[in-house]
Amino acid sequence: MMTKQNLIDYTLHLADNALIIGHRNSEWCGHGPILEQDIAISNIALDYIGQARNFYQYAAQLQGNAATEDSLAYLRDVVDFKNCLLVELPNGDWGQTILRQFFFSTYQYFFFQQLQNSLDEQLAAIAEKALKEVTYHVRWSSEWAIRLGDGTEESKQRMLLAVDELWSYTGEMFQEAGYERLAVSEGYGIDLTSIKNSWDAKIKSVFEEATLSLPTVAWMQSGGKEGQHSEHLGFVLGEMQFLQRANPGAEW
């Protein structure tokens, strides 16, 4: 029984990450700096909604009790959400959105690579499917990070600001939450320390090409994965969930 609840929590964490960053990226739809890139970021948002649905559907199936992908996405409150703080931060400018995408996609890339071998077949299958998309997200976001870092003086300054803004939220991705520790010991979760080095190396190489220096700040924010969120998430959920909450039980 403990095991099942843990698998649900672990799956929800993955679903919430995807849903919230998908939500943030979808805010760009119609407002992008270049039409082709408007399409690209909307497409990435769409990939995330797809990933979120796969994870929520699995969590709902595990949970039973008439849970659905929508009850999990729309009827849980801030304290129940298990996404990292990084994904709930406001978009900022294009540079900040790109940098967040690069940090997070790189994490997801190494994470899903491992998760493909999870003992849980369902998680492994979702990871395999998602990895194809994430591979593209890494390529797209790293190319943009380089372009903006090594573009104009203004774009470089903006990227440095974005690094400042986001860096302290990157540590949480590698800090194990309780359900992650248990998931590792139960054989279906990923040991986050095993992917940290790969993440560091990729970030370093792209930063070098982007002529950006890595920050030395050591303090890292955390809490999102355990339900301790920033103030931003409440507004995201308020907007996202209002129709479901205002019309209990309605079909859409």
Binding site: L35, G50, D70, G95, A250, W252
Partner: protein
Amino acid sequence: MERNFEEVFQDKIDKEIKIEPKDWMPEKYRQTLIRQISQHAHSEIVGMLPEGNWITRAPNLRRKAILLAKVQDEAGHGLYLYSAAETLGISRDEMYNQLHSGKAKYSSIFNYPTLTWADMGAIGWLVDGAAIMNQVPLCRSSFGPYARAMVRVCKEESFHQRQGFEILLTLSNGTEAQHRMAQDALNRWWWPSVMMFGPKDDESPNTIQSMRWKIKRFTNDELRQKFIDICTEQVKILGLTIPDKDLKWNEVTGHYDFGTIDWDEFWQVVQGNGPCNKERLETRKKAWEEGAWVREAATAYAEKRKNRAATKAA
């Protein structure tokens, strides 16, 4: 000489041979097409905004994914259309400038607000429905690149229309509040959709020449009547009421008669006085201005790379 070119050109058109970008064409034909295609492209891009509003508020994950895909399709349509217009010798930036300065127009329908989720249904069913009615004949436009772009656009639009109809059907059969939401959306979107076909034929000065050039295949009034006939049947399945008390079947004409269109409202919105004209244009300008540093950086970086490659080669 000029006359000769013009005869060859019209002869091709009469024989249904497509005009391609490098072919000779009358300047007026080129200008008419640039106006029409860019206006169409702008409509796709501005049209992303009223629906884009609801992506973050979509009522479930399935609807969210569909809406996001749909709005993204519209960006794609904008892209094909800007590319088609570019073959006529105008750049995308120039077209944007015309949009931002107010010189180029876009479909007035997007100057109406989206107030509830049911508006996503009404836009899909009515606005995309009217667009399809206008656009299917454009797949046979005499200008090749436009005709080909429209084939792709129309395929996607028909999916858009179906999803809109399905939203309204679900709402109409849902709770009382949902049904009311659906009827309210129909009440607000009906007349603006009927106006989407443009002014009456006798007030549409460009129609005759455009039909001779096969840029246009049916008149505004013909298409409008067809739209009304189809919707009046479809609304029965929806269990909703079209807000026109004069709507009734006419045995003699074989069409539905309909009430008087408020052309004053139509021209007011065209002239910039619709409920959202200002907002839509400001939003587009803001996206463009705030994206300037991104575009400059991309250009500068591409330049640097080119120079580095050249240095390496030397």
